[in-house]
C-alpha cells in the first residue's frame, strides 16, 4: 500500500532523513519506534509532501502511484490521513466546521466525538487553541476518524495522555484500524497495550535501523529503553 524507497530529505538545510526504506502492505498495521529527534515526524511530513521537506533522493509510492512530488491535498484524496503530534493553533477556525467538512454529512460527528471523549461544546472552539495535551491528541484522532482515510498515520497519539484517556484512544484507534492499513508512531509504546500490530520498525538518525516482529522489539525497548538499541551494531554503524 505504502512503499518508500531510499528516501533522503532535508528540512531547513538539515538532513533529517537518510535513505529510508519502508513498506506497509495493504491490511497491515506497522509501528514506528524511535528516540526523540530520530526523524519520525519528518518521515510523516515527507509522506504528506509538505513543501518544507526537500526530497534529495528516493521515492514514495501509494497504491502503486508515485506520489513523491504530488501536492498534499491530492495525496490526502488518494486516502492518506494523519493525526498530528503537534498540530498548529488556528484562530477562528472551528473544530466543528472542519469535522463537518470531513464527514460530508455521511457520519454523525457528535457520536464520533463521544468515542474519543470530546464534549460537543468543543465543536465551537478554535482549532487547537487552549487545548490541553490530551485534548489535542483526542481531537486529532477525532478528525482522522471523521476523515476515514484508507491509510491512517498516528504520530505519537499516546504522548502526554492520562491512563483513562489512553484506554479511550487505544480502543478508538483499534476499532478504526479494523479493515484498514496504518502506521502508528509511538515513543513510549503505551498505546500498544490496546492494539495488535503486524510489524515494528525502529528509527535512528533519520533512517530505519531495524524492522521485525513487533513483540520482540517492543518488549526489549519497553524494558531497556533506546539505550539498548544504541548498543546494537546496526545502530552503531549509522552514527
Amino acid at each position: 500500500m505504502l512503499r518508500i524507497e531510499n528516501l533522503t530529505v532535508e528540512i531547513a538545510g538539515k538532513r533529517v532523513l537518510g535513505g529510508v526504506n519502508l513498506e506497509v502492505p495493504k491490511g497491515e498495521i506497522h509501528v514506528l519506534l524511535g528516540p526523540n529527534g530520530s526523524g519520525k515526524t519528518s518521515l510523516i511530513t515527507s509522506i504528506l509532501g509538505f513543501p518544507s521537506c526537500h526530497i534529495l533522493s528516493g521515492n514514495i509510492r501509494f497504491n502503486g502511484t508515485d506520489i513523491t512530488t504530488m501536492p498534499t491535498d491530492e495525496r490526502v484524496k488518494l486516502g492518506i490521513g494523519v493525526a498530528f503530534q503537534n498540530p498548529p493553533q488556528i484562530r477562528g477556525v472551528k473544530l466543528g466546521d472542519v469535522l463537518r467538512h470531513l464527514t460530508k454529512g455521511k457520519i454523525d460527528e457528535v457520536k464520533l466525538a463521544g468515542t474519543t471523549n470530546i464534549p460537543v461544546d468543543f465543536f465551537g472552539r478554535d482549532l487547537n487553541l487552549g487545548f490541553s495535551g490530551g485534548e489535542l491528541k483526542r481531537t486529532e484522532i477525532l478528525q482522522l476518524l471523521a476523515q476515514r482515510p484508507d491509510f491512517a498515520i498516528f504520530d505519537e497519539p499516546d504522548s502526554g495522555v492520562d491512563v483513562e484517556n489512553l484506554e479511550v484512544i487505544g480502543k478508538a484507534i483499534n476499532e478504526f484500524l479494523k479493515n484498514r492499513s496504518g502506521l502508528l508512531i509511538t515513543h513510549l509504546g503505551h498505546i500498544l497495550r490496546y492494539l495488535k500490530v503486524d510489524k515494528a520498525h525502529v528509527m535512528f538518525y533519520g533512517t530505519i535501523a531495524c524492522s521485525g516482529k513487533p513483540t520482540n522489539i517492543i518488549n526489549r525497548i519497553m524494558k531497556k529503553g533506546y539505550k539498548w538499541c544504541e548498543r546494537c551494531p546496526k545502530v552503531k554503524k549509522l552514527r
Binding site: 498534499t72 498548529p88 467538512h101 478528525q143
Partner: protein, 407 residues
C-alpha cells in the same frame, strides 16, 4: 470650547492630524433635490447598494429608517409599534423641533478640530437624529443610510444620537454610493450620548468607491452604568478613509467596546483607530481590531486607551493579516495612564498566513485556496464581537462574499 464662526473659518485650512490631506474645495456641492419616498419604492440600484451596507428594505425588519441621498432626507419614519418609544428624523428637523437638542450639538466633537469638522459646520447637509426614549427597549434595529448619488460630490452630515436613561437599542448605519460614483468626499460628524443605564449598540458599515474619500468624526459620552458598543466594518476599496472615534467613559461603571473589521484592498489607504478615555469609577473599555491588507493597501490601525480614574481598566487587541507583499499594516496601540490603579493592556500582531496552518488544513483534504479562505474567515471571526443574531448573519454573509463562500 470655542464655537465662533471665525475660528471655524480658520480651521477650514487645518489639515487633519492623521490621514492624507485633501483639498475640500475640489468637490461639487450642487445637486438636485430628492423627493421623499417609501423604502419599498427606492430605485433598484440604490436599494441594492443600501443592502450591501446592512440596510434592509423590508420594513418589518427594522424599527425605523432614516435615508438620506446627497443633501435630501428622503425617508424618516418610525414603525407604528415603536412610535413614542424612539424617534428618527433629520438633524435639521430635530434642532427645529427641540430647543434642548442644541445642548448636544457640537458638544463633544469640536468644530475646530480640523478642516473636515469645520467643513461640516460651515456646509452642513442634514444627517440623522435618533432618540431612544427613557426606559424604552427597542427590540429590532433602527437603521440609517447615508447615500451619495453623484460623482465627485461632497456630503457633510452631522448625526446626533441620544439613548435616554434605561433605554436599549441597536442602530445600523450604512454609508455608500451609487455604482456610477467613483470619487467624492463624505464627512460625517456623529455625537452619541448614552445616558444612565442605557445600552446602545451601533454598527456602521461602509462601502465606498475606488477614488472616494471619507472622514468621519465621532465622539460618544457614556454615563453611569451605561454601555456603548460600536462596530465598524469596511471591506471594499476606498481612496482614503481616516477616522479616530473617541468614547468618554464618564459615568461610574460605564462600558465601551469598539470592534473594527477592515479589509484594505486595491490602493486603499485606511487610517482607522479607536480611543477610549476612562474617567468614571469602575469604567471599562475594550478595543478589538481585525485588519486584512491585500493588493497595495496601506493600513494604519490605531488604538488609544487613556486611564484617568484609579479604578478603571481597558484592553486593546489588534491583529493584522497581510495577504500581499505590496500591502502594509502599521498597528499603533497606545496606552496612557494618568493615575495609579488604572489597568491598561494591549496585544498586537501583524503577519501573513502561517504556512504551517495551510499545510495542516491541506493534510485534512482542503485545497490550498479552501485552506486560505478558511483561515482568513477565521481571522475575521465575528463571534468575538458579540453582535445581535440578525446582524451577525448579515456581516458573516459579507465576509463570506469577500473571502470565499461557506464550506
Amino acid at each position: 470650547m470655542p464655537k465662533g464662526k471665525k475660528t471655524t473659518l480658520k480651521a477650514i485650512e487645518k489639515p487633519a492630524a492623521f490621514g492624507p490631506d485633501l483639498d475640500v474645495e475640489a468637490f461639487k456641492r450642487e445637486t438636485s433635490y430628492w423627493p421623499a419616498c417609501k423604502i419599498s419604492t427606492l430605485p433598484r440600484d440604490i436599494a441594492q447598494r443600501a443592502l450591501s451596507v446592512g440596510i434592509s428594505t423590508e420594513e418589518k425588519e427594522r424599527a425605523g429608517t432614516y435615508f438620506q441621498i446627497d443633501h435630501s432626507a428622503i425617508l424618516q419614519t418610525i414603525r407604528e409599534t415603536f412610535s413614542g418609544k424612539a424617534e428618527i428624523m433629520s438633524t435639521k428637523k430635530a434642532l427645529k423641533k427641540y430647543r434642548w437638542a442644541k445642548e448636544y450639538w457640537w458638544e463633544i466633537v469640536d468644530a475646530n478640530t480640523d478642516k473636515f469638522t469645520a467643513l461640516a459646520k460651515l456646509k452642513w447637509d442634514q444627517g440623522y437624529f435618533i432618540r431612544v426614549l427613557e426606559g424604552q427597549k427597542i427590540t429590532i434595529p433602527l437603521q440609517a443610510c447615508l447615500f451619495i448619488s453623484k460623482d465627485n460630490f461632497n456630503q457633510n452630515v452631522h448625526n446626533l444620537i441620544i439613548a435616554e436613561p434605561n433605554s436599549e437599542a441597536q442602530i445600523i448605519t450604512g454609508c455608500t454610493v451609487h455604482p456610477n460614483v467613483q470619487s467624492g468626499l463624505h464627512v460625517g460628524i456623529s455625537e452619541f450620548y448614552v445616558q444612565k443605564n442605557a445600552k446602545l449598540t451601533f454598527t456602521m458599515i461602509h462601502n465606498w468607491a475606488q477614488n472616494f474619500n471619507v472622514r468621519p468624526r465621532t465622539a460618544a459620552l457614556v454615563d453611569d452604568d451605561a454601555t456603548f458598543v460600536s462596530n465598524y466594518m469596511c471591506m471594499k476599496p476606498v481612496k482614503s478613509l481616516q477616522m479616530y472615534p473617541v468614547a468618554y467613559c464618564k459615568g461610574a461603571n460605564s462600558r465601551v467596546r469598539f470592534n473594527t473589521i477592515l479589509h484594505g484592498n486595491q490602493n486603499s489607504h485606511l487610517d482607522v483607530g479607536s480611543k477610549v478615555v476612562l474617567q468614571g469609577k469602575g469604567s471599562r473599555g475594550e478595543i478589538i481590531t481585525r485588519a486584512i491588507a491585500s493588493d497595495n493597501a496601506q493600513i494604519n490601525a490605531r488604538g488609544l486607551l487613556v486611564g484617568e480614574h484609579e479604578d478603571s481598566k481597558a484592553h486593546l487587541e489588534c491583529r493584522g493579516l497581510l495577504l500581499s507583499d505590496e500591502a502594509y499594516i502599521h498597528a499603533i496601540p497606545e496606552l496612557v495612564g494618568n493615575v495609579k490603579g488604572t489597568e491598561l493592556s494591549h496585544e498586537a500582531a501583524v503577519g501573513k498566513i502561517a504556512e504551517e496552518q495551510i499545510q495542516y488544513l491541506m493534510a485534512r483534504g482542503f485545497s490550498q485556496t479552501e485552506a486560505e479562505s478558511l483561515i482568513i474567515r477565521g481571522f475575521m471571526d465575528i463571534n468575538i464581537f458579540g453582535l445581535p443574531d440578525a446582524l451577525k448573519r448579515d456581516v458573516k454573509r459579507m465576509i463570506d462574499a469577500t473571502f470565499g463562500g461557506a464550506l
